[in-house]
Symmetry: C2
């Protein structure tokens, strides 16, 4: 896997001799050279850290309690012999990975039984970063399955399945989430599995009518799950009431499949090999009527159907998945910027002047420009997703109170909050999971060939990660939906409506912003003013949306690409607003952390918002053309230079321990080469210098001449005989 050097390019050779190939006197001939000292470089740069790591970590995580809980959990995971990571796990086959994950589920279930649920969920969230397969296998049960029961079932139904049947502690039951079908992913309302009421027996008949309705991708179905919540069309007396939810047992207590249930393993996947995704076909499977989840829609003994007025509220708890993926994006970003920046400080390549030591990668302008915007994004994502998490928790709590107390005003507010939550979670989930995928890719490339080694973590994480862009709402579909809401909201505001209790309240300024003729950012100084930048984003969203309203009357479809852009802008507004508020609230003016965070916030919005969307900002006259080049080239370079000296401290501030980061070149001590070579040797014993199939290889190399192998039957002698 050789890297053919750039320095050999003819062009440079024409200009001058490369200093490294000029004959020069050397002290001695063999083994006289000084080895690289990456750990020394990293330690020196670490010493520059002039702020309190604890203060910075609390800033990122939101408060002291959460910060401390996370640090204790890192420690607990690092010490746990089953939960901790090991380099050899990167070599695991699918079978080994699935078994490892099953062991971890077992271990996690013991914590679930004994520690406070909030702490357990945080543990699971952290484990999800280092073992996404474990994360999803547990979340399928305690997240999707139980959240669906919670959202769609009555309180008693939830108590029964979660507590009495113990699915809530992964005991007795293991639920999976039977939503997606082979022919239906995004369009859940179009699912074709049927649940037909049989009045005679007071049962539902669950049935897969054809191949397209085969339940597909169902996590945990292949081998783990005993039950599924099945999304199926409710059919009563030949009337189709649309898709409702039903608990369907799949396996008995001996884990054998029940009659009428056909299940298979989906097999190999790009990533998350540790998950036993399956497909399910139901053939006239009968379940009692009371297995239907009936918080909203009800069917009585006589087959009378009561339809739900507030069914959309059932989805609030399922949004937990999207919120979690936004948060995951932050932690993944922290993990990979830490690896790439430690490597960039320890790794040297090419000398800037003959005779000088080689230059650290991080001292190349382009290298800074590639990595530091992602570091800044990660800071913004930390605070933004922390807010989203709290916003979602509050909403769930309010819904429970509103329903329990029958508080109509609170219920109304909850519905408004739900609307905001759909836009915010959809926009943050899609924007941040995409950006995290880009971040993993860019940080990997920034580590050159070593980024391609499994033991440095990039490959597996990328493969495990990217499904986040597809599941629980395809990113493009989610972003288009968020964009649609934004356009409609702007339209309503332009028509005189005032938004209240909505996170989109900043759009109340749309009438004024959309009419503004003067650009919001006109001179260089304006770029330093965060409030002005927020106003510029709001201005762009307002003008862009207003521009699209007339087209939307003809065809929402035709403005799909524009809706995606609006969703991304909304995400960034959310992140920047939160970052700015928290900086003002939590970091004192004289805190040594403050100047660093001020650089970071600027780097974030200049390189992640103003730069990437510059053509839109210019097109709508929100930014003046005179500052365009400043925004896209000059200022980012200056901001990168400001942040550059502190990259070790700024990544140390994420406080992720070595075992969690799980990368040989990304360890705290910066001892890149030794850590890397020694572990590679541990995992791949050099004593095995022959392949298991070496015999075949040697036989090929030592084969006899073609003529012999052809029994000399094409030789001249043969020709002489055969031609006669």
């Amino acid at each position: 896997m050789a890297m053919l050097s750039q320095s050999h390019d003819g062009h440079d050779h024409q200009q001058k001799k490369d200093p490294d190939t000029t004959p020069k006197q050397v002290a001695d001939v063999i083994s006289s050279q000084d080895p690289p000292h990456p750990a020394k470089d990293v330690a020196e740069e670490r010493a520059r850290t002039d702020w309190d790591l604890k203060e910075m970590h609390e800033f990122l995580e939101g408060d002291e309690g959460k910060s401390e809980q996370i640090l204790r959990l890192y420690q607990s995971i690092e010490r746990d012999p089953i939960l901790q990571t090991r380099p050899e796990q990167f070599d695991y086959t699918q079978k080994q990975e699935r078994e490892l994950v099953a062991n971890r589920i077992n271990q996690m279930s013991k914590f679930l039984e004994t520690e406070p649920y909030g702490k357990f969920r945080r543990r699971l969230q952290l484990m999800t970063v280092i073992d996404p397969s474990l994360g999803i296998r547990m979340l399928v049960n305690i997240g999707l399955f139980l959240n669906c029961v919670r959202g769609n079932g009555t309180q008693k139904q939830f108590d029964f399945w979660s507590n009495k049947k113990e699915a809530g502690i992964v005991k007795q039951l293991y639920g999976c989430f039977g939503m997606t079908e082979l022919g239906h992913g995004s369009n859940v309302a179009g699912c074709e599995t049927t649940a037909t009421f049989d009045e005679k027996t007071d049962e539902f008949i669950i049935d897969t009518p054809h191949i397209g309705a085969t339940k597909w991708w169902i996590g945990g179905a292949a081998h783990s799950a005993t039950h599924t919540v099945c999304y199926a069309r409710l059919i009563v007396k030949d009337v189709d009431y649309g898709v409702k939810t039903f608990i369907v047992p799949l396996r008995d207590s001996r884990h054998s499949l029940l009659p009428g249930i056909a299940i298979g393993d989906i097999g190999a996947k790009m990533g998350r090999q540790g998950v036993d995704n399956g497909w399910i076909q139901f053939t006239e499977v009968r379940i009692p009527r009371f297995f239907m989840l009936q918080r909203w829609c009800k069917v009585d003994r006589q087959g009378n159907v009561t339809l739900p007025p507030l069914e959309q509220l059932s989805y609030i708890s399922l949004l937990e998945g999207r919120v979690g993926m936004a948060t995951d994006s932050y932690r993944i970003g922290a993990r990979y910027t830490t690896i790439a920046l430690r490597y960039a400080v320890g790794r040297r390549q090419f000398s800037k002047k003959a005779g000088e030591p080689e230059t650290k990668l991080i001292d190349y302008t382009l290298h800074q420009r590639r990595l530091l915007p992602y570091l800044a994004l990660t800071y913004a994502a930390a605070v933004g997703t922390d807010r989203l998490e709290r916003q979602h928790e509050e909403l769930l709590a309010n819904l429970d109170i509103a329903l329990a107390k029958k508080d109509k005003l609170l219920l109304k507010n909850t519905i408004t909050g739900t609307k905001s939550m759909f836009v915010d979670s959809g926009s943050l989930k899609s924007t941040l999971t995409w950006l995290a995928a880009d971040l993993i890719n860019e940080t990997r490339q920034a580590c050159g060939g070593h980024g391609y080694s499994s033991y440095n973590g990039f490959g597996k994480t990328y493969d495990d990660w990217v499904v986040q862009c597809t599941w629980e709402g395809d990113n493009n579909v989610l972003a288009m939906s968020a964009g649609k809401t934004i356009i409609k909201t702007v339209q309503q505001v332009l028509n005189g409506k005032e938004l209240k209790d909505s996170t989109l309240e900043f759009l109340n300024a749309a009438p004024e912003l959309s009419k503004a003729k003067k650009a919001v950012i006109r001179i260089k100084d304006h770029v330093d003013d965060v409030d002005r930048v927020l106003k510029a984003i709001a201005g762009l969203i307002s003008k862009f949306s207003k521009d699209l309203i007339p087209i939307s009357y003809q065809s929402w479809d035709s403005i799909g690409a524009q809706r995606v852009i609006l969703s991304k802008l909304r995400c960034h507004y959310y992140l920047l607003e939160t970052f700015n508020d928290r900086l003002n609230d939590k970091i004192k003016a004289r805190s040594p952390a403050r100047p660093h965070l001020e650089n970071i916030i600027k780097l974030y919005y200049v390189t992640n918002i103003l730069g990437p969307f510059i053509d839109e900002f210019l097109r709508f006259g929100v930014i003046s053309p005179q500052v365009a080049k400043y925004i896209t080239y000059e200022y980012p370079q200056k901001l990168c230079a400001n942040v550059r000296p502190y990259v070790i401290g700024l990544t140390d501030s994420f406080q992720q321990p070595d075992n969690f980061i799980n990368s040989l070149i990304g360890k705290y001590d910066g001892n890149i080469y030794t850590n890397y070579l020694e572990s590679v040797k541990d995992v791949n014993d050099p004593f095995n210098y022959k392949a298991p199939y070496s015999e075949a290889l040697e036989a090929m190399l030592n084969r006899s001449a073609l003529e012999n192998r052809e029994r000399s039957e094409r030789a001249k002698a043969a020709a002489a005989i055969l031609s006669k």
Copy 2:
């Protein structure tokens, strides 16, 4: 792996009832619904193809002979029991994959012995698309190793190692390419392995002085190679002459390691698991003086060193790797646009109106906008890389003639051609391998969840692919180098030099173009004029370069990002120029293929060049702001609509057979769901409904209560006793 539906988003629910959840009368209750008919949809759209597939394929491949050879090779590969693909191979472990590759190498070596070399190279190029590990394992020997011997060795040295020792047919010897070190990737001239001349014994001593100089990533070293070409610093009489090349035996004819050679397996990687990459450390390994490759640099018996005047020519043959990666980008693009577009025609999701059949994915505007620019890019990459391949072959042939005939003029031209080739191959390799990675990612996401299944091909290809962005010249390093040459070339032209026999001749217009005050593209009609678009790109390159010249005097490093952009623009100029020329040369005015290619070329440059670089085009006044929105939104949409009806025919024109495309949802017949489910069942027998580790899983679910497992020692009764 459920996809939480967008259609449930509260927002839409507020507006109107979803048609799919409105109660409606149904004919019957169970199994009454019509299954999806994707094959019918694909067949209907295929019938629209109104051009000759043969003519189109010849257009893409360059000529009739090449087109026919490729079609025959597809057939040969598809029929060959060892070379053909099978779905179960996606489940292979690293061990299985390596063994499969070894078997394929064996099979390929038999073709190598018997078929013309040109045909074999084409076979290998095609095999590289379906089995990149096979590709690189063979290319390490017959490409890198032997090309290095050819480029750096004398004719007799090459004959000896390639023919007499039979490395050229993968017999007796198997060479690997010992260039990269643990501490040195891009900076080959900085390699630290030493080759010290011992006058007493007339030998070189090959030595690894420290951990950083460990040869790393060496493909084939772990288990296959018997020899390596070792890049090491030539040290004679305490003088370091820089990095030269030496043949060093690693294993004897019994495949045992030779003394002084330490080798280990690099282990798991993101992709290309089938390659046995290794690390090598040399400890005072002695080789005879005549194992040094001495076409250029020579060391005589007395230790007198002759230094090479034309050493850069030794790299021409090694550029083959970069040229090949550019071509691979086309074939990978063809493979994945074919899969995604067949799926987009067969797959339906959401109805546009209640009661209507669901809409084909390809009929969504955003879906067209996501995929069709990549289809157009693939056409451009086909013709562009075909030209690059021919350009490289011609250069190699001329070099051989020039050296054999000592033809000084031809040698001078070859040197000029080499300079062009460095820029062109560097710029095309970096730009196209990046774009191909994006293409695989976008086409995967466009297939939703099914894109994540291994059996549809995306995951493995992505993982195998992305190392192309790093090896044989890191893309950023290559692009910066190409960009530097472009800036210097513009500078020379501005200073009055005229370029001759260079592919950069279009920059002779730089003085005029860089001064132009009027935009090249000012009105919509201008966008339809290919010559004008070429002029606009040349204009942008000229103005951009001119702008950077003063900064380059202070610091090349500070304009790294800009140099990368220039390299990308140069690649696109090359592709567009070639596409346009070939369209004019080869496709008759009345050919039914012509209007389709005219749409494709426009879609290519509007969405891949003008759109993505619009902010630069605007900043330098090459495009007028009035047409910006037309270029970024309106015209792409129109061009997509023009191309959309013919997507099946346009991908059929690549003529890649099913076995080559190797994707269950991407087959010719479009029978997505049946092909997919049946093969998944074949590979993962549903009879195995319990996991191998099921016992542990069941034990967890059926565990007794926590109190029992704690031996009731925390119970009240215990408390009563223990508290006394």
